[in-house]
Structures are given as C-alpha cells and as structure tokens.
C-alpha cells in the first residue's frame, strides 16, 4: 500500500516548476528567439535568411563540416568497433579489458584546447613525429597530412572518437552470445557466413547509432579546430565570425539561420540515433 500524505501530493509540482522555469529561461527562450528571428529576417515571415545560410561560403561551411564529421565518425566508428571485437576475443591479460574501458572513459572526454596543443607538438611543423619522419625522408605534407588540414583534424578527432565508439560498442559486442557462433559453426557456417548472417545484422544498429553519435560529437566540436585553424571554413568557425561581426545589419539574421540549420541537423541525428539504439537494445537485453 502506498503511504501518501498531504506534502507529497503537491510535491510533483513543487519539484518540476523550478526545473521547467530553468529550462524555459536558459534554453527554450534563447532558442525560440533565434528561430523566430531566422524566420522573420525583416520583421515579416520569409525564408530568405534560411536559404542564404545554405548558399555561397556558408554552403561550403556546411559541406566541409559534414565531410569532416562523416570522415572522423566513420573512421573512428570502424576502428572503435574492431577494437571492441578484438578485445572481446581476448581473455588472457585479465587487466586488458577493464584498463581499456577506464582509459576510454577518460580519453573520450579529452578534447578541446589541450588536445589541439598535444597534436601541434606531434604533427605540427615543429612536431616530434613530423621531424622524426623528415629524418627518414618522409614528409607528412606529401600525404596531405598537416595539423591544420582536413586529414590532420580527422586524425586529432580520432583521439576522442575511437574511445567513445569503444565505450558505446562494448555492451553490444558482449551481447553477441558465444552459443550463436557455436550454433552457426555446427550448422556448417564459415566465420564469414556467421558475420554476414548473424553477427553483422545484430551489431548493425549499434554500429550505425554509434557512428551518428560520433558525427554529432565532431560536428559541434569547436575548441580544437579553433586552435588548429581559426580561419577554416567550418560551421562553428563561421558562427564565431558572424557573432563577432554582427554590427553589419542582416548578418545577425544569417547567424540565427545557420544556428537553426545546425539544431535541425542535430535533432534529426539524435532521433535516428535513439531509434537505432532502441533496436539494438532488443538483442542486448533478450
């Protein structure tokens, strides 16, 4: 039997009101104003700012940001999955799995300014790896890798993307039952066949969901690229440019419109990710 008395009956309202007020004031209010301003650039309804936000240099910015995020998400995702699968098959050094999990929890959060500094010391023009390779006659720039360029930034982002994917994938990989593999083998399936018909399809929603998570993670990253290449044509850097120079009339609406597109993109990604994760959970818990 529930024991209820008067103080509890009003408790629900009492604790949710401050929460709602907080979210409303600091999140909903600014976002709503941005959306309204983006939709009414000159005081009346028009899609002008929204379409300008996707043309010219800003279109380039979105394409660059999406390409960069996709490259780091897919690469980080695949390496992370392989890492999770490899570690799952190894039981021998008993410390390996817990050590890797702790390290991933830490490394997946190491981004921003310090990480940019670390890679400048590694593959920057004076970087130790750059110079060590130069001594062997290898120039990283010949392969298109500079710390300010596309693949250089991808390399930096992998530092937090791979551990994040490993963390997300570990429960899913552990959900693959040994008995399924044995059953497949007894029925005469080769390892390749097992991965194509059993393991692959079961892991697929988790892998896709994880890659989308990594995509969101790198699309919104700002500090690292700002330190490495502040003039780059990426959406977060363009937002900074517009925000700091919004004395020019009309530019403010453009900034608002870009933010609307960013939020829409992230919202869509989050919805797809949640749907995929829900599908993936079916196998982990059953």
């Amino acid at each position: 039997m529930r024991v209820l008395s008067r103080p509890e009956s009003r408790l629900g309202i009492l604790v949710s009101l401050p929460f709602a007020a907080f979210i409303g004031l600091f999140l909903i209010y600014p976002v709503t104003v941005v959306v309204i301003k983006a939709l009414t650039p000159d005081g009346h309804l028009s899609a002008d700012a929204l379409s300008r936000a996707l043309s010219g240099t800003y279109r380039r910015g979105f394409i660059n940001s999406i390409e960069l995020s996709l490259a780091s998400a897919v690469l980080g995702g695949l390496i992370g999955v392989v890492l999770a699968l490899v570690v799952a098959t190894m039981s021998r050094p008993r410390w390996l799995h817990p050590a890797l999990e702790s390290w991933s929890a830490v490394a997946s959060q190491l981004g921003g300014v310090p990480l940019a500094f670390a890679f400048i010391a590694t593959i920057g023009t004076q970087g130790l790896v750059t110079r060590a390779l130069a001594e062997m006659g290898l120039d990283l720039r010949d392969y298109g890798v500079t710390v300010t360029g596309f693949w250089g930034i991808v390399l930096v982002y992998l530092y937090f993307q791979i551990p994040l994917m490993f963390l997300v994938m570990t429960p899913a990989v552990q959900g693959l039952r040994q008995s399924w593999r044995e059953a497949a083998a007894i029925l005469g399936a080769s390892p390749l066949r097992y991965w194509l018909s059993v393991g692959g399809p079961i892991l697929a929603p988790s892998v896709l969901g994880g890659i989308i998570l990594l995509f969101i993670n790198s699309f919104t990253a700002y500090a690292t690229v700002f330190v490495l290449n502040p003039g780059g044509a990426l959406v977060p850097l363009q937002i900074r440019f517009l925000l700091q120079g919004n004395i020019i009339t009309g530019e403010e609406d453009l900034g608002n419109a870009i933010v609307v597109w960013v939020i829409a993109l992230l919202l869509l990604s989050l919805i797809i990710m949640t749907a995929l994760q829900r599908r993936a959970l079916k196998w982990i818990h059953s």
């Binding site: 024991v3 008395s5 103080p7 509890e8 408790l11 629900g12 009492l14 604790v15 401050p18 929460f19 907080f22 979210i23 600091f26 999140l27 600014p30 976002v31 941005v34 890492l83 490899v86 190894m90 999990e101 702790s102 390290w103 929890a105 830490v106 997946s108 959060q109 190491l110 981004g111 921003g112 300014v113 310090p114 500094f117 670390a118 890679f119 010391a121 590694t122 004076q126 130790l128 110079r131 060590a132 530092y159 994040l164 997300v168 429960p171 969101i216 993670n217 919104t220 700002y222 500090a223 977060p236 937002i239 900074r240 925000l243 608002n256 933010v259 960013v262 939020i263 992230l266 989050l270």
Partner: protein, 272 residues
C-alpha cells in the same frame, strides 16, 4: 596452430598500433612542456636532457591564470549545486511517485545535447545582451549554461543511482515505519546516493575544465580561454598547463569510472 598464431600477431599488432597513437601525442606534449630545450632542438639524442617543471610553475604563478582558474573552480561548484538543487528532488520524486514519467524526463534532459554551446551562444547573445546586460557582464553568467550541458549526464547518473539502491522500496519501507518525508530523503535516500552525486560532480568539473566555445565567444575569462591567450606569450608554459589540466580531467573521470562500476551501473556519457 599457424592460423591462431597469425591471429595472435594481428591482434597484438593492432593493439600496439592503437596504443602508440594514444601515447605518442602525450609524450610529444610532455617533451615540449617539460624539457628545457628549444623545441627545434628536441631530437632523439636528448630525450633525457634538462627535464624541469619550471614552465608549469611559471604558468601556475601567472596572476591571470590563477584568477581564471579560481573562476572556473567557482563556476564548477555553482553549476554542480544548481544541478543538484534542480535534479535531485526531481529524480527522487519521479522514481518514488511516478516512475512512468521516467522515459519522458530522460528524453527532456537530453534536449541540451541538441543545442551545443556554439549554437546556444548565438541565442544568448541576441536575447540576454539586450534584455539583461548586467547578467552577461558577470563571469558567473556561465553557471546556468554549464549546468544545462551537465544536465543530461547528471540526471542519468542520479537516476541510475536511485534505481541501483531500489529507492522506491526503501522509501515505502521507511514511510511504513513512520519516518517523515524529510527523514526519508535526508537519512535514507541521500546518504545512499553519495556515489552517484560525486560521479555527477566530477563529470561537471571535467565539462567546465574543457568548455571553450561558449566562454570565449562571450569574452569570459575561464581557465580554457586564458590558456589559449597564455599560449601566445609562453607556448612551453601553456603546453605544461594544458597537460596539467588534462591530468586533472583524467583523475576526475577516473573517480567516475570507479564509482559507477562499483555500483554496478554502466553509463556512457558524452559531452562536448
């Protein structure tokens, strides 16, 4: 036999490659930061030459760094306090009284994820700059926003903590034995949630130590923004400071991993 041997070599080769990728940048950074040798002269031959922490000590005694570090510290403290004040009662009431609302609340607390710092800063600049200039004038205006981005993982950690201790059963048992509502909260539930609360607090510290976009675009002086400014003056000291901040962040997250694993709760937390 040869097949399994090949697998062994492949597996360890892959792991060593990954390990090298993660260790080499840290070592390079450590050499830049702690070797008293001009960076252009750092070679394989002087790996052990002239190590010293003088760069870090100089950085840590810089008045700008000291004041921005103390500001970041207080921002973290207030953000943690604010989040606990908002979310602990909410998580308890939801778990004890209306568990059916839990999925909705989990989804609601995820919303800040969709509006990252680089997006919200535009809205905050356009609204609060006009409506309440005194608010954005104070560095502590960062507190509610950092609390906002800490909300997704704070709620999840608290909720997982409540479920791990069977909060509803505890609540009903204590109430049945005649304990008042406040006794239940302060003497039964909160002491049992200490691990979850410490974990959430440490994650918030990591977030505050890492957030750069929002603070720098609002022209606020926090440890991350001041670190970038300091790099222009003393690159070696800035790298030492960055490594120091990374180690603190790692220690905070290490506490989280320990606490959460001991409670038998697994949570993946992502931030920005």
């Amino acid at each position: 036999m040869t097949a399994s041997r090949k697998g062994f070599v492949l597996r360890w080769g892959f792991l060593i490659l990954i390990a090298a990728y993660f260790v080499v940048p840290m070592l390079a950074m450590a050499r830049f930061a702690f070797q008293n040798v001009p960076t252009a002269l750092l070679t394989r031959d002087n790996v052990f030459a002239d190590w010293s922490i003088s760069g870090l000590l100089t950085a840590l005694s810089n008045p700008k760094i000291v004041s921005s570090a103390s500001i970041s510290f207080w921002i973290a403290v207030f953000a943690i306090a604010l989040n606990f004040a908002l979310l602990v009662p909410l998580a308890i009431v939801t778990e004890v009284r209306s568990p059916r609302l839990r999925p909705a609340l989990t989804a609601l607390t995820l919303v800040p994820w969709v509006v990252p710092p680089i997006a919200l800063v535009v809205g905050v600049a356009t609204t609060f700059r006009a409506a309440a200039p005194w608010f954005l004038g104070n560095t502590l205006c960062l507190v509610p926003f950092y609390a906002l981005w800490a909300m997704p993982f704070t709620y999840r950690v608290l909720d997982a903590g409540l479920q791990a201790i069977n909060a509803r059963t505890l609540y009903e048992a204590a109430r049945g034995l005649g304990a008042s509502l406040w006794t239940v909260i302060f003497r039964v539930l909160l002491p049992n949630m200490r691990a979850a609360m410490v974990a959430a607090a440490m994650l918030t510290v990591a977030l505050v130590l890492g957030e750069y976009a929002f603070a720098s675009l609002l022209l606020k002086s926090t440890l991350p923004t001041e670190m970038v400014v300091y790099e222009g003056r003393d690159p070696r000291g800035a790298l030492a400071l960055a490594l120091f901040v990374m180690v603190i962040t790692a220690l905070c997250l290490g506490v989280v991993v320990r606490l959460i694993r001991r409670r038998g709760v697994s949570i993946t937390v992502t931030g920005f």
